[in-house]
């Protein structure tokens, strides 16, 4: 993974000093809240219902054990002993005091971490495939390019006051695990017919009030033009994006209102000027960044051939866990382990300091000192020898981290919702907990099979409900919480926005409604190999509506 050099360290230290000064000036009254707010947002500091919230960047979701231990320490020392991992591969702390934040940032800088640009109308954390550098279906590691974009976007003088936030994601495998098509810019690494490496550029994806799937802007941009082309897009957005209405300020709206063709002309014209300029990436520079991301040497570890099968047959719980939580690695003796942060009745994406420390130890010992934060709010150990699975599992079991539910209905993506967030209209965590409890039986979950259930507590869609196979959106109606149900969304390949079923459900009704949807699916699927999303695409919404509502359109 990338290692800071002296310049990077000095840069972050300067940023910490700058923000410390801004906090001091704010507390002394030399700055109003209006002047301070954009500045604190650019350092990841939100004001939420109960306290400030600090969002720490985890660049393209990659962490070392040392960094995770520092996060555990921060949770312990400055917070309430836990942190929350997000759909953008960041971590959030819910209870820091503003007065402590400069010190927290200084501690983070000791391990090459920061909270720069995790909020505000600027370029945010560039996310990527949480299986990068390990997945069997990968043809090029996207993380060097995420790192290039990260550096280039850090304190970019021209793009610090965009119309709205700007989110970029990069992938390089057959399967898009980073949901690039609901990002402002989504990049898919590919090779052209001559074998040259480059990117398909997708633009204008996003969720929130007006969800849209990204459009293909250009099928192939050579890798040396990555920064020039990205600059052209964001410059056009900065100049022409709407600034009159914050719900219409993303690039997706600009494309929708101006038209992709017209915008493409402007972008290509700007790119033509930039193409031969300073932003062209020399091959030597690309190689230098790439060097940080070479897969570590993985020794052959064939012993699993002898013992894994009988370990699995000897321990059914371990067997279930291997089945659900271990994905194929490029190296035949290795696997990619996903650690579920979705225990039954738990808070999706939360981990305690103790759990973080345990995972850090596991990463150091068994995963080449590397771990990832997944788009699904879980943790990933990317390089695990299959022969080490049992000892890892036993450790996870003792720490409450052994839920064997990856990709199943209880592997819920949920935002913090009204329990924490000032923007929320309804609670999301309690709904997640209830659904998780309703489907706690592993057998039932396996019967249901692969399914992605996402919950957002407001229209801002931080829970990515629009692209859940089942999506739940909490709204407020006449002072009460109401939950809208959507079906048929999909992140990743074949990206789709879910369709609303009809009237919303109360907090008492929503879990039953989800169960009704599941039962309907089970009753019409062609076989137990036909997943929920495949069945939905085949049969459509009608049957589900019929099951959910009576003839007057009220919830059954």
């Amino acid at each position: 993974m990338y290692r800071y050099d002296e310049f990077d360290k000095a840069f972050v230290a300067a940023r910490v000093a700058e923000f410390s000064d801004q906090v001091t000036r704010r507390l002394a009254g030399e700055m109003t809240e209006e002047e301070f707010m954009p500045l604190r947002l650019r350092n990841g500091v939100y004001l939420q219902l109960h306290a400030y919230m600090l969002r720490v960047a985890i660049p393209y979701g990659t962490l070392s054990s040392r960094q995770l231990r520092k996060l555990a320490h921060i949770a312990r020392r400055y917070d309430r002993g836990y942190g929350h991992f997000t759909t953008r591969q960041n971590i959030q702390f819910n209870w820091p005091r503003l007065v402590d934040i400069p010190e927290i940032l200084e501690e983070l800088s000791e391990v090459e971490m920061h909270a720069i640009q995790t909020s505000g109308n600027c370029i945010r954390n560039v996310t990527s495939d949480h299986f990068a550098g390990a997945a069997a279906d990968e043809f090029a590691d996207p993380r060097p390019y995420a790192e290039i974009l990260r550096q280039w976007s850090s304190l970019h003088p021209e793009f610090s006051y965009l119309p709205r936030k700007f989110k970029i994601a990069v992938v390089g495998a057959r399967i898009d695990r980073a949901a690039i098509q609901v990002h402002d810019i989504g990049l898919w690494l590919k090779r052209d017919s001559s074998g040259k490496l480059g990117f398909a550029f997708y633009v204008g994806g996003g969720q929130g009030r007006t969800p849209m799937v990204a459009r293909l802007l250009r099928d192939f941009v050579p890798e040396e033009d990555l920064l020039s082309y990205t600059t052209a897009i964001i410059r056009i957005y900065n100049l022409y994006g709407r600034r009159d209405n914050k719900y219409k300020a993303r690039i997706k709206i600009l494309i929708h209102e101006t038209g992709l063709e017209k915008l493409r002309e402007e972008i290509e014209a700007e790119f033509a000027i930039l193409k031969t300029g300073e932003l062209k990436l020399p091959q030597a520079d690309i190689d230098a960044i790439n060097a940080y991301f070479h897969t570590p040497d993985l020794a052959d570890r064939p012993e699993w051939h002898h013992n894994l099968d009988w370990l699995r047959s000897d321990d059914p719980a371990f067997d279930r866990w291997v089945n659900r939580n271990v994905a194929s690695h490029r190296h035949p003796d290795y696997g990619i382990v996903t650690i579920s942060l979705k225990p039954t009745g738990g808070v999706p994406g939360d981990a305690t300091s103790v759990q973080m420390d345990v995972v850090a130890d596991l990463a150091e010992r068994y995963s080449k000192d590397e771990l990832r934060v997944s788009y699904h709010q879980n943790l990933v150990l990317p390089h695990v020898a299959l022969g080490d699975l049992k000892v890892i599992y036993d450790t996870l079991l003792a720490t409450g981290l052994a839920s064997a539910n990856i990709g199943l209905i209880s592997d819920i993506i949920a935002c913090p919702g009204l329990d924490y967030c000032t923007l929320a209209n309804a609670r999301s965590i309690s709904v997640a907990q209830q659904i998780s409890a309703r489907f706690s039986s592993h057998d039932r979950q396996m019967q249901v099979g692969e399914i992605q259930l996402n919950i957002s507590g407001c229209i801002n869609a931080c829970g990515h409900h629009h692209v859940g196979h089942i999506g739940i959106l909490g709204v407020e109606k006449k002072g009460s919480e109401l939950y809208q149900l959507t079906l048929g969304g999909n992140a990743g390949n074949n990206c789709a926005i879910g369709e609303i079923t009809g009237r919303g459900f109360s907090s008492d009704e929503i879990v039953d409604a989800v169960e009704t949807v599941i039962n309907t699916y089970l009753s019409v699927r062609e076989s137990n190999k036909e997943s929920f999303i495949s069945t939905y695409r085949r049969v459509g919404m009608a049957l589900f509506r019929q099951a959910l509502y009576d003839v007057t359109g009220r919830a059954v």
Binding site: A10, E34, Q151, L155, P157
Partner: protein
Amino acid sequence: MQLNGDSKLWGPGGFCEDEYVWADCLEDVGNRCVILPLSVWLQAVDKLDKETLGKTGVFAAAGEDVRPLLRFLAVIPVIALDFPVFSDGRSYSTAVQLKQIHHYLGELRAVGDVLIDQVSNMLRCGFDTLEVRHSLTQTRLAKYSREIFPGFYQPGASLIRARSHRIWYSVSARQSCS
């Protein structure tokens, strides 16, 4: 925001006298140095003699199309770009286009809601001068010695590319002399 009716002009050399006054129409031009709105200036360009043109600058609103000015850049003494509110970042892009892409050699001036926390961005985008109304910003600028950041990850005006294996590393000319 604390408004001080007294607006001061600042450049990296410190506060300086502002030769220019704001004017709305051609009739105000006379013998003085004035800054006209872009649309008015475009009408004036045929009507003014060379000497007067040399004292007549242009004001562009945030996001206003400056492409009509491109063929005249060599004769425009000052271009003022507006920040109607500090969070409106359009003029940063206009500045980059004028300075870095089209090599405008005159004075590029930031006007409007100019605050201390955006000064660094403005200088790096190519602004030569800032018109500052905010009194606390004026106070801080009086003590503005050097950039607290050791360098940046992007190219920028008055920054040079330092030798490094990273993608981009730019520093101010002063810092690079080592």
